[in-house]
């Protein structure tokens, strides 16, 4: 059956079974391939999107469960101030190696800093531990998040 889903502010019609994960609706039905497949069981975070502003694993979210909620993906990340600041920090610190997990890392980090603009080191670790980076760029991911948090604090002050 057809589902109407709001993605990055745009209403899209998707004709697919309701138990299809949002990830595969995005990638194969809509051609939005920025959101990545990593494990299919919500264990790696590569597929992270925002649903009503909260980080969600799109590989484990059935299309039928999205309903009226607002979905946003990495393709729209630069439209948010926090997302854009993180993208810039990622580039300044050359965070990535292969880069495959980084869309999910950035989406998760954006949700973190949106909810908690000034996290402690422990809070960054706790919030990000669901996102695997096989290249293990963790030191830089952590550093870039901490930098954006610090800069945000300076601006606010």
């Amino acid at each position: 059956m057809a589902y109407r889903v709001t993605i990055n502010g745009e209403t899209r019609e998707i004709d697919a079974p309701g138990d299809m994960p949002l990830l595969w609706a995005l990638r194969n039905e809509l051609g939005m391939v920025g959101t990545k497949f990593g494990c299919g069981i919500g264990m790696c975070g590569a597929c992270t999107v925002h649903v009503d502003g909260q980080a969600a694993r799109s590989c484990s979210l059935p299309l039928s469960a999205v309903g009226e909620k607002q979905v946003s993906t990495v393709e729209a990340l630069e439209q948010t101030p926090v997302g854009q600041a993180l993208q810039e920090a990622w580039l300044e610190d050359d965070v990535m190696q292969c880069g495959y997990c980084q869309a999910g890392q950035l989406m998760n980090a954006t949700a973190l800093l949106t909810n908690n603009p000034n996290p402690s080191d422990g809070e960054i670790d706790a919030a990000m531990q669901g996102n695997i980076c096989r290249c293990a760029c963790y030191k830089r991911i952590h550093g870039a998040i901490a930098k954006v948090a610090r800069d945000g604090e300076t601006v606010d002050a």
Binding site: V33, I41, A46, C98, N131, I132, R134, K139
Partner: protein, 733 residues
């Protein structure tokens, strides 16, 4: 500028004008011994293109798996061209052995193989731009210099951008690469600068640049069902049931072809991959596992015990001195059994490939492959056509770690696409497929013995290695080198091996053989050190004291420097200084040391560790001293490789194993193959020991020593020796 890696190959260069007034310099870098197979220079591809607007396009020829090569090789060209890096755009080259020479992401080979040829290509283009300026101004080219992006005549106001000179430069004679003088290290403007990855801006925006992001009109998706038991054959499957599932377009069997690593199985095709993958559940395949179902990791470990107990020994593959006499005369003999498990690669981007069999019978592929030329050959061989009828686009990869040196998934999608001419097919493996269809890091078992005389000197070393019989392939990831340290550094030595039959596929995992052998050798040397009242760095320094560098050896790349004891000594002393080795550490913490030489890199590492209340190891800090030659080309990429290698190695040491049960891999996803996550990241301090040697690769050599550095730290802490990986906390109870 020291260039001790002698790369005996011929570089061919050719210049041409490009539309709109630009200048293109083509180059080819054939492998040693293959120069005669290179086609005429007229066929060469443009490597460097200088456009009239002063922008520069450089081809990145090698596959990018996250090692940074798509940024680093163009940096070498841009340096000698004296380009303004901000004006450089990098484009990925197609798979073409004749044009580009080897296009390989593996073995940490790219840096040593390309250090000179890439710079020569840049220097040749620069010389031609200077010749064009000299002609235009009527001056001697020797009076000219370059600033980034322009030719100038010092002391005058003559200046022209590369773009302004490009069309004239295309008419200049191409210099003989051997005649070019490369820059002095002190004059580098791009090499040595921390430069971000050329694809990074696209990555943070989520743009489609990975293999699995390939999208073609009318593309369909394939999932593949294979036997869980390695070596099993297909008896039956319900294709009709799968075809009746929603979205499914077709389902058909694929026959095995071991020569190109193609396994038997069933392809399910749908208009959405998730639907194709879900329909696999309807296939109800019946497999004939035969004898292989009885194979298990526990069984192999038992076979190792039996091989050691039999007393008949193994096949001797290294011997020196009189090892029996050394043990008979020893004051003390140490003996221990070490083992390590199978490991998987688990690149974040699961195996995938996209293929289109054109109506004219040619094949076009979009391949995330570390060896796209090998994949091209394999697919061409499988399809019975010439390699030039298989066009292979090289995509960026979400990690490789050696998994994508094998191109089984390329052949698999080619086998599917040939059944559907005109329709592009994207094959994707699930994470479960990826973990259960890998070419695993081989497990291994070592019974090691050391003889020590009354003065505490190591006089004998023996290892009975139990490994696997993987046939007579060109590359054997389950082999132990005859020169494995301390071979040559101890008077009496014997290595023998027993090979077990198996159907488990095995392959190279980042720092192959080294990632396992470093643990065994550096741990047992640590045992010897403790038994003789020394510590491991001291023992390593004593064993190599005053020994001159070994002569060059012939390897894959041609001549390469032999192992150098002075370089080992320098990194060992450096890391001891960094970690304040020998000084007190925090209560409940201890330090451990490990050294390893692999891929021409020398790494000495110290780990500071403790045990938590449940006896789980905690790594607080790692110090790394590395010698990969005279120059760190891109400090960003270099540090990232080392930091990643350290965490990768710690993950292997602490929590990773693939177990074979019932002939199949037991692990299936990240819940039972728990990769390192952010909270375990230790502090990592890295220092480079720059030496008078041409630069070598960094994708691998930092990984092996961190494993024994951790287990040696845990011994210093607890008095308990870890002899089997991954670390079992019960050891410390």
């Amino acid at each position: 500028m020291p260039d001790t890696v002698q790369l005996s190959r011929r570089t061919l260069l050719k210049a041409s004008a490009v539309a709109g007034g630009g200048f293109a310099l083509a180059a080819t870098f054939p492998m040693a011994g293959r120069a005669t197979a290179v086609s005429s220079p007229a066929d060469l591809n443009a490597f460097i293109t200088i456009h009239p607007d002063n922008s520069v396009t450089i081809i990145g020829k090698n596959p990018e798996i996250g090692q940074g090569i798509k940024t680093m090789l163009p940096m070498l060209i841009a340096e000698e061209l004296d380009a303004d890096w901000d004006s450089v755009t990098v484009e990925q080259g197609l798979t073409d052995a004749a044009k580009y020479g080897p296009q390989l992401a593996g073995g940490s080979f790219a840096t040593p193989m390309n250090w000179i040829p890439m710079r020569q290509a840049g220097a040749a283009a620069r010389a031609m731009l200077m010749a064009a300026a000299a002609q235009r101004w009527g001056v001697d080219a020797a009076s000219l210099a370059t600033d980034p992006g322009r030719v100038v005549q010092p002391g005058t106001n003559r200046s022209a951008t590369f773009g302004e000179l490009a069309s004239d430069a295309a008419m200049m004679a191409v210099p003989d690469p051997a005649s070019l003088t490369l820059k002095d290290q002190n004059d580098f403007r791009i090499i040595g600068r921390a430069i971000g990855g050329v694809d990074s801006p696209r990555i943070v925006r989520g743009e489609p640049i990975f293999g699995v992001d390939t999208q073609l009109d009318g593309m369909v998706y394939a999932a593949f069902e294979r036997a869980p038991v390695f070596g099993a054959t297909l008896k039956s499957a319900d294709l009709d049931a799968a075809k009746a599932q929603p979205g499914v377009i077709d389902a058909f069997t694929i026959a095995a072809n071991p020569q190109v690593q193609l396994v038997e199985g069933i392809a399910v095709i749908a208009d959405n991959w998730w639907l194709a993958n879900r329909a696999r559940a309807s296939l109800a395949p019946q497999w004939d596992a035969g004898e292989w179902e009885s194979h298990s990791s526990a069984g192999y470990a038992q076979a190792a015990q039996e091989a050691w107990k039999s007393g008949s020994g193994g096949e001797v593959f290294a011997a020196q001195g009189d090892v029996d006499a050394a043990f008979a005369d020893a004051d003390r003999v140490l003996e221990a059994e070490y083992s390590y498990p199978f490991l998987a690669h688990v690149a974040m981007e699961p195996m995938n490939c996209t293929a289109l069999m054109h109506e004219d019978g040619t094949m076009e592929m979009w391949a995330p492959s570390q060896t796209p030329q090998g994949g091209q050959q394999a697919v061409a061989g499988y399809l019975g056509m010439e390699p030039d009828r298989v066009k292979v686009h090289i995509t960026r990869m979400g990690g490789g770690f050696g998994r994508r040196l094998n191109n089984d998934y390329m052949v698999q999608v080619a086998a599917i696409a040939k059944e559907m001419p005109g329709t592009p097919v994207q094959l994707i493996w699930s994470r479960e497929d990826d973990l259960r269809s890998d070419f695993y890091r081989p497990a291994g078992w070592h019974k090691v013995r050391a003889a020590v005389d009354a003065q505490g000197t190591l006089t004998g070393w023996a290892d009975h290695f139990v490994t696997f019989d993987l046939g007579d392939g060109a590359y054997n990831p389950a082999a132990m080198p005859a020169e494995e340290f301390p071979a040559k550094y101890v008077d009496n030595l014997k290595f023998e091996q027993t090979k077990l039959a198996t159907a488990v596929p095995m392959g190279a995992l980042r720092a192959p053989t080294s990632n396992a052998l470093a643990f065994v050798m550096q741990s047992f040397l640590d045992e010897v050190a403790h038994a003789t009242g020394k510590d491991l760095p001291q023992l390593m320094l004593e064993l190599t004291d005053g020994v001159a560098p070994e002569p060059p050896t012939q390897g894959f790349m041609g001549s390469q420097p032999g192992f150098s004891a002075p370089r080992l000594q320098a990194v060992t002393r450096k890391v001891m200084e960094m970690a304040r080795w020998g000084e007190p550490v925090a209560d409940g913490h201890a330090l451990g040391f490990g050294f390893y030489y692999s891929h021409m890199g020398y790494f000495a590492e110290v780990v500071e560790a403790s045990l938590d209340s449940r006896n789980n190891p905690v790594v607080h800090k790692v110090w790394v001293a590395g010698d990969v030659g005279s120059q760190i080309i891109n400090p960003f990429g270099a540090l990232n490789q080392v930091e990643g290698s350290i965490i990768d190695g710690l993950g292997q040491a602490m929590q990773l194993a693939v177990e074979i049960e019932g002939g199949a891999a037991k692990q299936s996803n990240f819940h039972n193959y728990p990769l390192p996550r952010m909270p375990m990241t230790p502090q990592i301090d890295v220092e480079w020991v720059l030496s008078d040697n041409a630069p070598t690769g960094l994708g691998e050599p930092a990984l092996p020593p961190v494993i024994p550095a951790l287990t040696n730290a845990l011994f210093a802490l607890s008095g308990k020796r870890v002899r089997s990986l991954p670390i079992d906390r019960a050891v410390f109870a």
